[in-house]
Structures are given as C-alpha cells and as structure tokens.
C-alpha cells in the first residue's frame, strides 16, 4: 500500500509528456528561419517564412480606422475617461457591447443568413484556449474525438495535452480532393469502438486548414445526421470563415443547423452543435487573443463561461473590438476588400506555381495553398517527403509545412502560406521555386542533403497509419506547431521597444 514517492519534486505527467508537440523534427524549419530570416533589404537571401498562417494583407485598413477613431482606445485623450471602468471590468460574461459586436460580425461573415445570440458567446484565450475548454466540457480523459485528416497540427496539443482526450483520424484522400466520405467516417467511428474508445464527438475545420477548401452543404448535412444518430457532438472550427475569396460560398454549420432544426424528419439536437471562432485569421489580430466559443447547448455555454476565467480576453481589447466591429460600414468594407486581396494573392501564387508545373488543390479560402509535390518524390514515402522538405528549406530557403505534420496519409503534399508577406516577398518566393524546379528537372543532380534524422522519427514514419495513431506511447509524431518559436531571438518575436 505504500505509494512510491521517488523524486516527488519531479513534474506531472502532463508536464513531462511530449504532447506539447514541440519536440518534433519540424522545428528544424523554424530554426532555419530564425537563424536566417528573410528581409527584403537587410537579408534578401534569408529563409522566407511560409509556414505561418497569418493574414497580413489588410491590416492597413484597420490601422487607418484606428487613426481615425481615437475613442476606441482607452489610452487616448478621447478614450481615457473609460479607462477606470474598463480596467476594472473582469466579468467573465464579457463586455455586452463586445459580445454584441462579435455576434453581429459573425452573422455578417455568413452573409447574414444566420443570426448569432450574444448570450451564447463565450470568451477563450484565442481559439487555442477556446477549443481546449470545449474539450474539457465535452469529453472525459480517454474519450475520443473524430477529426478528418489532414488537420491543423496544433490540435494534437490543443485538444489532447491537458484534456487527455484522444484524436481519431478520419482518413481523407486526394482521389476525391480530401473530402470526408461517409465510409471513412463510419470506419473511423467503428475502429474507435473496436478499440474500446468512447467517441464523444467530431471536430471539423471549415474552411479547412490545411486544404483551404470549404465543405459543401450536403457533406455538412451528412455529418449532422451522423452525429445525431450516434448522439455525439460536432465542433466546427470556423476560424477561417472570412477568408473565403472565391466560390463556392461558405456554408456554416449554423446555417445547416438552422435548416435542419425544424425538419421533423431530421430530429437534429442543437445541443450537440458548437462553433469555435477567433479574430486571429479573419482580421489578422492573433496578438489580441480573441477566442470565441459559441454553443447551442445551454449547459456548455454555462460551463465554458466559468472556464473562461482561465483565459479571458483583456477588457482593453474587448473595448477596442466592440468599437471597431460595431462600425458596420467599416466591417463591410473590410470583409470585401480583404477577400479581394486574398483572391489576388492566391491567384498570383497558384498561377506562378502552375507555370512550374506545380499544382495545388483547388481552393477557395484560407491563407495557404495545399501544394502537390508528390511527383518530385523519388518514392512515394514520408521519408522522401522529409528529404524534399529539408531540401526546400536548405536550398530553396522557404519554410513550408510538410503534409505529414498534418497527418496526411499521402506523401508529397505541402502547405504553403501566402498571406503573411508583401507582394515583393511573394514574388521572390515564386522566383526561388522556379529556380528550384529548373534545377530539379535535372534528375541526376540532386543537392547534397543533411541526413541527420533521429532514428525514432524514421521508425515512426514507417509505421502503418492506424498503428501510428493508436499508439499512445508514440509521442514523436511530427507536428508543426503554432507560431511559437522556441527561439526568442527571431525578429518575428522581438518587439521594438
């Protein structure tokens, strides 16, 4: 009955696990960038960061608005009268004006086809904090959540690390543009049941990261019917909702719910539907940590609201956003212009790649393209993908994200971000790709590679997909983490004081 107490000063299991994901080999990409970051004038031969899904194309619009609206800040002459009240406001319901503004904004982004209730809006520390809280509300340790591959790498940390929830992949293939099929969905569900894992829900990202595609209404309806049949939750991360730049139009789960809710044949339970949102991508404000959890389930709203104490949005930021987002004229103008600029950048990129014979998955949203380089692989293996990736970093000097970090089952895909740079940098990136393709065209001349690879990682990639995912002891799965460089000296992370 004696409990072993050796080294009690050691940290918890959560603390010592690898599920934060930062020990993945993919930090080589960050390292390369941090040590040699591209700068148009000061370091034109540096590594261009294309692994960061940021929206920098329309910040000037916000800056202009800020300059014209000093009252929106509590630190200006016009706004300082509000300072005391705002600085004192820590109610976890959040500023009513803020919630109202967010609800309206979310409605606008969906073409006002649905309306959002400010009282269902719950704050979170970025979408990162909001999605983790939602997992805490919906699932117990050991429970599972289905997630279609490829998916945002940081889900591994956000949804699993402290919650101890498991991720159950729904395999998607390029043969049908990585769409979710009913078969794949059922198969993933059955596999989980067979492994004695309690499935609590399904999480989708729509528009998709890394695919940049939106889900069609029929697929969404299929998913809704599925989750209702199994009585499990559906979590929709709609963080890229306003990055749509082309048809087909975005269909939010909220619209589908609205349609199906009143259909007596469907028997949809709204209490199973939850949305994660944020302003980090649509508005390009990741530093402000604006995470939103929107649930149609009263108990989840109540519980999540209490949990939001652990990640409230700064009242100063709430106040500012309430102001800017209530300016309907600005919002409409911003959404329209932002969409145009994304469309333009996307076109420049995809056309530039096409010239080199590089195709990307056809996409209509997001801040990135899903680039197909499988023809450049000597063999269709993940080892080859890694080799190619390292080559791209060292020779082409672009930090892109290899598909395996997104749990993609087919080697050769890469996510390439295009909205976090100016036009000149984008051009330079394309030029470099051109030069690389030309060189690669001479197949016998392959650039020497740095072959340092950890053995365990190699072993990892050769595992069959199902065993890789269900192997709890294998924490070394590749992940590309959110933009937290562990190396604080990069200009990316240095603030000008």
């Amino acid at each position: 009955m004696v409990i072993l107490r050796e080294n009690q000063a050691l940290l918890s299991k959560i603390a010592t696990s690898d599920q934060h994901g930062e020990n993945s080999p993919y930090f080589d990409g960050w390292k390369a960038y941090d040590q040699d970051p591209f700068h148009l004038t000061e370091n034109p031969n540096g590594v261009i960061q294309m692994g960061l899904a940021e929206n920098q194309l329309s910040l000037d619009l916000i800056e202009k608005w800020v300059a014209k609206h000093p009252k929106s800040s509590i630190c200006t002459k016009d706004g300082i009268s509000q300072f005391k009240e705002i600085a004192n406001f820590q109610d976890y319901h959040g500023l009513y004006e803020f919630r109202k503004a967010i609800a309206k904004f979310m409605g606008k982004v969906r073409g006002n086809r649905v309306a959002f209730d400010p009282d269902r809006i719950v704050m979170g520390g970025g979408a990162t904090g909001a999605s983790e809280s939602l997992m805490f509300c919906l699932a117990d340790p050991g429970d599972g959540f289905l997630v279609p591959t490829p998916y945002y790498p940081a889900f591994g940390r956000d949804l699993r690390w402290r919650t101890r929830v498991q991720l159950l992949p729904i395999i998607c293939n390029s043969s049908n543009d990585f769409k979710i099929t009913k078969e794949a969905l059922e198969s993933a569900y059955e596999n989980a049941i067979a492994s004695n894992i309690k499935v609590k829900g399904l999480i989708i990202t729509n528009p998709s990261n890394p695919l940049g595609t939106t889900m069609d209404k029929e697929t969404l309806k299929t998913l809704m019917r599925f989750i209702n049949e199994k009585n499990i939750h559906i979590v929709c991360d709609e963080i890229y909702a306003a990055t749509i730049f082309n048809t087909p139009e975005f269909v939010s789960i909220s619209e589908v719910l609205q349609e199906m809710e009143h259909d007596p044949m469907s028997l949809i339970n709204p209490g199973l539907v939850h949305i994660i949102y944020s302003l980090s991508k649509d508005m390009g404000l990741p530093g402000f940590r604006v995470g939103i959890l929107y649930s149609y389930n009263d108990n989840v709203v109540s519980s999540a609201r209490k949990m939001s104490s652990f990640g409230l949005i700064s009242s100063q930021t709430q106040y500012f956003l309430a102001s800017i987002l209530s300016d309907e004229e600005f919002v409409e103008g911003f959404l329209s212009e932002s969409s145009k600029r994304l469309a333009k950048r996307h076109k420049t990129f995809t056309q530039g790649l096409e010239k080199e014979g590089i195709t990307c998955l056809a996409s209509n949203a997001g801040l990135f393209v899903w680039m197909d380089l499988h023809r450049l692989l000597k063999k269709p293996t993940f080892d080859e993908e890694m080799d190619l990736w390292r080559l791209i970093i060292s020779d082409v000097k672009l930090n892109v994200s290899p598909g395996s970090s997104f749990q993609c089952v087919e080697p050769g895909w890469f996510r390439v971000c295009f909205a976090n740079m100016d036009d000149q940098t984008a051009e330079i990136a394309l030029k470099r790709i051109h030069a690389f393709v030309v060189k690669k065209g001479r197949r016998n001349e392959r650039a020497p590679m740095n072959n340092k690879r950890s053995k365990s990682f190699q072993k990892n990639l050769r595992l069959s997909f199902s065993s890789r995912l269900y192997d709890e002891t294998n924490m070394m799965s590749p992940r590309v983490m959110s933009p937290h460089s562990p190396f604080p000296r990069s200009p990316l992370v240095q603030a000008k004081t």
Binding site: Q8, E63, G126, R289, S303, S314, S315
Partner: protein
C-alpha cells in the same frame, strides 16, 4: 467529475494498464471505495462529491453539498468536469454577489442598496494611473503614426513582448524595494493569476494528487487548483490562537493526513500577503515552510498577488528574498505567482505571471501559456508604464499609504462598536471577528449571521467558512473597492446593527 485517484488496488489496476488514465480498471469491487476513495472507475460523480465533504469539513455547507449529490448526474453528452460542482460557484461566496447584483448600492440612485464588500478590488489609486496615462499617451497607444499597431497585433509569441517581461520583472523588484532580483527570462505570462495558479497545478501535480493549502484561503482556489486539473486541496489548519499563522506542526499534520488517505502530496501553496487574513507571513515562518518542502521534496508555490498592498514595505518579506539569502539553494522547487489585478487595480486586463526558479517549469509553463496569453495590446500599454521607475516607485509608495489609511479607518470604525479584527498589515480587506455575536458557535450560526448581514444590514461580506476557516464567526470585509464616503455608510450601518444586537 474527472476527480479520481488510485485506490489501494492500484497495483492491480496498473497491471491491467488502466488506472491513472481515468478509464475503468474493470474491477467490480474496490476495497477503498467505501471510504471515499475512488478507483479508476467511471461513475465517480457521487464519490467525487464525498471527497469534497471530507476536504472542507463544514457542517452547514456539507448539507449544501449533500443536496447537490441529487443533482449531479452526468448529463447527456457532457464531461464529468462540466457537470461537477467543482467550479465552486454555488458556495455562499458567490451567493452574496447575487444579492448585490439584484440591489446594488449607489450613493444617489440607490442609497439603501447592498454595499459590495466581498470584492477584493483596489480602486484607491486609479487616479495615479490615469495621471500617468494622460501624460504618456503616445507611449501607451501605439504612437501617433499607429504604425506600431500592425506589429503589435501580429505578435502572439508565448515568450511575450520582451519589453513587457522586462517591465514586469522590474516592477516586481520595485514592489520588493529592490530586496530581490527577478530575471525577465523566468517570467512566464498568463491571462491573470487565476490562469497562473491552474497552470502551475497542471505542471506540478497529477490528477488525484494534492496541494497543501493553509486555511483560511481564497475561495477561488477550490476552482482554480482543482476543477480541470483533478488535483485535490488538503488544508493546513491554522488557528486563531496564534493569529492563524502556519506552524510546522500544522504542516506535518496536513501532510500526514494526506498520506493516510493515500494521497500523494506534490506541493504547498501559500498566499503572501494572505487572503483573507490581510497579513504578511513572517520571515521565520517562510523559512520553516521552505525547510518543510525541502524535507518532503515537494514544491512551494507562493502567490504574492498582494505584495504591493502591504501597508509598510519593510513588513513584507518575499520568498524571493529568502531564496536569495540562501543563495538559491533548493530554489528549483519554488514558484511565484503574481498579477496586476490587485496592486495596480487592473483586473480586467488579465495580467498574470509565473516566476519559477525551475528551468523545466519555466519552459513547460511557457508552452502551456498558449492557452492563456496576455493580449499584446495590453502588454504594449503596460510595458512602458511599468518600466518607468519614477512612476512605479511613486505609485507603490502612495498606494501603500492609501490602503493603510483605509485599513485604519475601517478598523477604528469597527473598534468603536466593539468589533475586533485580526491585526492586519496588508491586502484590500480585514479579517473581522463576529464570533461573540453568533447565535451558536457553529458554521450554521455563522451562515445565519452572514445572511442577516446581507439582508438586514445590506452588506455583502464573505463568511469565513467559504474560506475554509476552521473556526466559525470570521468574515472577510473588503474596503478598497469603494469611496471613503461609501465606507462611512457601511460603518454606520454596522454600528446600527450592533446596537440593536446588543439590546
């Protein structure tokens, strides 16, 4: 709730590879289940609540919790955590809020309303902040050209703005009168001390493990340290006989009690200056606590959120000073929590920090802070303010004086009608003793008194039982979240009340 811990069958459970992961061990009977210890079983909702009762040991409140058992059924589709009561919002601490919310005092619009004295907020020095901001608008608001906006809005690195981290480290040094040094590289930023305490708990303890916390303690700890972490609080009982100071005997007793329940103790968490006592912990006691945790090879978390609210700078001794005097020997088990919510009166800005002497904790905490970063907009605003030494020194000094003045005002006002308070020297509240006025010297008596004060005297104060105080009759009364005039009104109401009670 997801609260569970290994039972005596732990070896067997471990053998089946299930225990410790919240999954059923498949054992149909567990020899320990009856004594409130749950094995790795799923239906721990009811048993979890029984654990609550043994922890807080309150007669009156246990009734409350027992009633709650009827309600706690895992509702369809939500986690046990979501349906548990461990968020703690059903305690009287929060019920008083309701009374206030429904009938809030206002000196002109609602002079008979409930005066909020249950909220530890610091509103006495706001003018100093406003004065600073007005004189330094450019520095705090992205500059006139607004060109700093873009860089600031994009900045989401979990290391935090270097300028802000440096400013926090510098401010923490100022608060301690330069008696301790803080390295900006060890400052980890979180959205409030609430998040900092939870985060540290995730890092230092596994579900089912315990932190030892001296009573009486901040009611929010029940949620912050336990709810999502699954960690338990085992109280270190402190008695009025020695002014509720922590003794080595009490430490040992708490530790032994935990061990007797087969609970692994991972650390001690103290608040210095103390909430709700409003008193600093003496250096000698800090040394004893440090020796204790070293002996037991566990962690020490010190929440120094009220460090800038000590009335006399030289009466506050930070654990950082003690560690420095020991040349940082054994310091890797020590972690400090701080926030600007109390000292600067900026709770809305969500500015918390973890300062750890343990490299692994710093690294892990930093990664975990991804879930709870401070808005870059706010970091920017405060970076310049907190690095302005002239301002911070002036602010700290004046803030201390004003709080002291408030404290003296309330203490003297209460003394006039024969009400004694614990001798305090810090914080935003006083620890008032109403035990002579209780109908019966029990928690029931205390809660009755509390309800009377809420409904008849119309003051929302916090009953000691919500702070897990071992003796009934104590109340925490906040004095810094109102004007002097309102405080006078509150005191006169108390005078009236005591007069009628004495008749």
């Amino acid at each position: 709730m997801s609260m569970w811990r290994p039972c005596a069958e732990v070896e067997r459970c471990v053998g089946k590879g299930a225990a410790g992961e919240g999954r059923s061990c498949g054992e149909t009977s567990c020899s320990r289940a009856g004594s409130g210890v749950v094995c790795g079983r799923e239906e721990s909702g009811v048993v979890g609540l029984i654990l609550s009762i043994t922890q807080i040991k309150l007669d009156g409140l246990s009734l409350f919790v027992l009633m709650a058992i009827e309600i706690v059924q895992p509702s369809v589709g939500l986690s046990k955590m979501a349906v548990s009561e461990t968020h703690g919002e059903d305690s009287p601490y929060f019920a008083g809020w309701k009374a206030y919310d429904e009938n809030p005092y206002h000196e002109t619009c609602n002079p008979t309303g409930v005066i909020q004295m249950g909220l530890a907020e610091n509103q006495v020095s706001f003018d100093l902040l406003e004065e600073y901001l007005e004189a330094n608008l450019e520095a705090t608001n992205w500059g006139q050209k607004v060109s700093g906006f873009r860089e600031n809005a994009l900045f989401q690195d979990y290391h935090g703005l270097l300028s802000f981290r440096k400013a926090m480290a510098s401010f923490m040094e100022e608060v301690r009168g330069g008696k301790a040094k803080f390295d900006p590289e060890r400052v980890v930023l979180t959205a409030g001390a609430t998040a900092a305490n939870e985060l540290l708990t995730f890092i230092l303890a596994d579900p089912g493990d315990a932190l030892l916390v001296p009573t009486p303690y901040y009611p929010g700890f029940d949620r912050d340290l336990r709810w999502r972490t699954g960690v338990q609080i085992v109280p270190i009982h402190c008695e009025r006989s020695n002014n509720f100071q922590i003794t080595p005997e009490a430490l040992e007793a708490a530790y032994d009690h935990a061990r007797s329940m087969n609970i692994k103790v991972r650390g001690v968490l103290i608040t210095n200056p103390s909430n709700p006592l409003g008193a600093t912990i003496q250096r000698k006691v800090l040394e004893e606590i440090l020796d204790f945790v070293t002996r037991k090879n566990i962690h020490l978390v010190t929440d120094e959120i009220y460090s800038g609210s000590a009335f006399y700078a030289d009466e506050f001794v930070s654990i950082a000073e003690v560690l420095e005097s020991r040349n940082y020997k054994d310091s890797e088990r020590c972690h400090i929590v701080y926030s600007l919510s109390k000292d600067l009166g900026l709770p809305g800005f969500r500015v918390g920090t973890i300062y750890s002497y343990n490299d692994q904790v710093v690294t892990t905490a930093r990664r975990m802070s991804s879930f709870t970063l401070i808005s870059s907009q706010t970091q920017f605003l405060l970076a310049s303010m907190l690095s302005d030494k002239e301002f911070t020194q002036k602010y700290i000094k004046i803030n201390r004086e004003r709080l002291r003045k408030r404290y003296e005002m309330i203490i003297n006002g209460l003394k006039k009608v024969g009400i004694e308070c614990l001798k305090g020297n810090a914080g935003l509240f006083c620890w008032m003793n109403l035990s002579p006025y209780l109908k019966e010297p029990t928690i029931k008596g205390e809660l009755e008194m509390w309800k009377t004060i809420m409904h008849e005297v119309r003051l929302n104060i916090s009953p000691g039982s919500s702070c897990h105080c071992s003796e009934p009759g104590w109340f925490r009364v906040c004095f810094a979240n109102m004007s002097e005039e309102t405080l006078e009104v509150a005191l006169s109401r108390i005078h009236e009340f005591i007069k009628t009670r004495k008749q």
